[in-house]
Amino acid sequence: MALPYGAFIVHSTREVSADEAPANPWFSWQYVEDNSADLQRYLQQHIILTVESVVIAMLIAFPLALLAFRYRWLVTPLLGATGILYTIPSLALFAFIYPFTGLKPTTVVVGLVIYALLVLVRNTLAGLDGVPDDVREAARGMGYGRARMLWNVEIPVALPTIMAGVRVATVSTVALVTVGVIVGEGGLGQLIFRGFNSDYHAEIMTASLLTIALGLTLDLLLALTTRLLMPWSRSRS
């Protein structure tokens, strides 16, 4: 990520053109050094908002999906409701939540939880539905009851699909946190927005790249976790 040539441009033009417009490079290592405290603070805020949202969404989505798996008639209303919520644009969603929660991180977290629900519910259901009947048959033959079958057979077999949903939800959440600027709680989005308002290109670019890097890093970490948790799924892909 070190892009020293940006910093170089700053120094060279500073001396040459005193009367021209000041250089406004997109990449500046100088910026990163000067603002490391801010970058760290907002990155931390971004991570906290993301993790809170995804974890809460999982705690809601997982039981809902299990319930719908057990009582099939719930599938259509559940996917329909989460689908409608998913269609509402993030800014509008924050606008609806704001009167109840105010200018606080809660507004952002509630909104992002609602967004993550659809992917998590859908993937969990798809994973459970995808357990081969032979596997169920075998477990039943071995004397597994309904609860034990769910925990020891169905959920482990569904785990790769469930984790794929968690990964998609996490990456989307990282990107969506930035919209939280509307209530002043946008993590790195705050820096993107601050950079826009002061026309500071390096700030916009650095915060944007950090956001993307955060999303991809969390995705990679989750992918590695999936592999460690499920040695049996390695050979499949």
């Binding site: 509402i88 509008a92 606008a95 609806f96 859908r122 995808g130 990282v174 600027v181």
Partner: protein, 256 residues
């Protein structure tokens, strides 16, 4: 609940329905941005996807593109384009949103072409069709349902994200929410939210209906009610919910 009462007061104020900051003009602007963003994205994505799909190459490329684009915040790209020479306002918005509309169009078209029954393609070749004839007379028509799904996803997504343009000086209905926050006017904030959500839902329902019209009966799921399914739920049902392939788009996204 006070804010919702205030929102209806706001919506009933005729002053809010007039002029360049009025609801009709902002709605028009929103749709105008959406149309051009999707059109530009289609001009880029469709030829690429048709070519790649026909040759059966580039599957990995579309998966990587979709995954990476998911990690890029729309706000970041909007800001970057707004801050450059491309300029303030709607031009920057259209370009930024077009970038985000490319992955769903590309993935769906690519998958649509790839999923055409190889026997059908074989038969077309056997009848002496040339490569381009196979593509345009056989593969493309058979891929129409998935391509339509791609257009629906892309368009609904653009309608939703066009709202964010207001944060960086662009137009569209997001302006109402944004200036509502600026003035701390809860009624206006919620009213803007209602308008934006309504537009997104109308777009979703309309496009779901259109998608249904171009999807042959046998490819539709058994119990579909127009529009009230989850955005991508129809595909999910059509495909018999294979564990590793929740639907065409998710399949491309979920495995990397």
């Amino acid at each position: 609940m006070n804010s919702f009462g205030a929102a209806f007061t706001w919506l009933n104020d005729p002053l809010n329905w007039q002029g360049p900051q009025g609801v009709p003009h902002l709605t028009y602007e929103h749709l105008y941005i959406t149309f051009f963003a999707v059109a530009i994205a289609a001009l880029i994505a469709m030829p690429l996807a048709l070519g790649l799909g026909h040759r059966g190459r580039g599957g990995g490329f579309t998966v990587v593109l979709t995954n990476v684009s998911r990690a890029v915040p729309t706000l970041a790209l909007l800001t970057v384009f707004s801050a450059t020479a491309i300029g303030f306002g709607n031009r920057a918005t259209i370009i930024a949103l077009a970038v985000f509309a490319i992955p769903p169009l590309l993935t769906n078209t690519y998958v649509g072409i790839r999923e055409v029954d190889p026997d059908v393609v074989e038969a077309a070749r056997g009848m002496g069709m040339s490569g381009s004839k196979v593509l345009f007379r056989v593969e493309l028509p058979l891929a129409v349902p998935l391509i339509a799904a791609g257009f629906r996803t892309a368009t609904v997504q653009v309608v939703a994200t066009a709202t964010l343009a207001a944060l960086v000086g662009g137009g569209g209905l997001g302006v109402i929410i944004n200036s509502g926050f600026g003035q701390q006017d809860r009624g206006q904030i919620v009213a803007g939210g209602i308008l934006v959500a309504a537009l997104a839902l109308v777009a979703e329902l309309t496009l779901a209906f259109l998608q249904r019209q171009v999807t042959p009966g046998h490819a539709r799921g058994p119990s579909r009610r127009a529009g009230l399914d989850a955005p991508e739920a129809p595909d999910f049902k059509e495909r018999g919910a294979d564990p590793s392939e929740p639907d065409a788009k998710e399949r491309a996204v979920s495995v990397s």
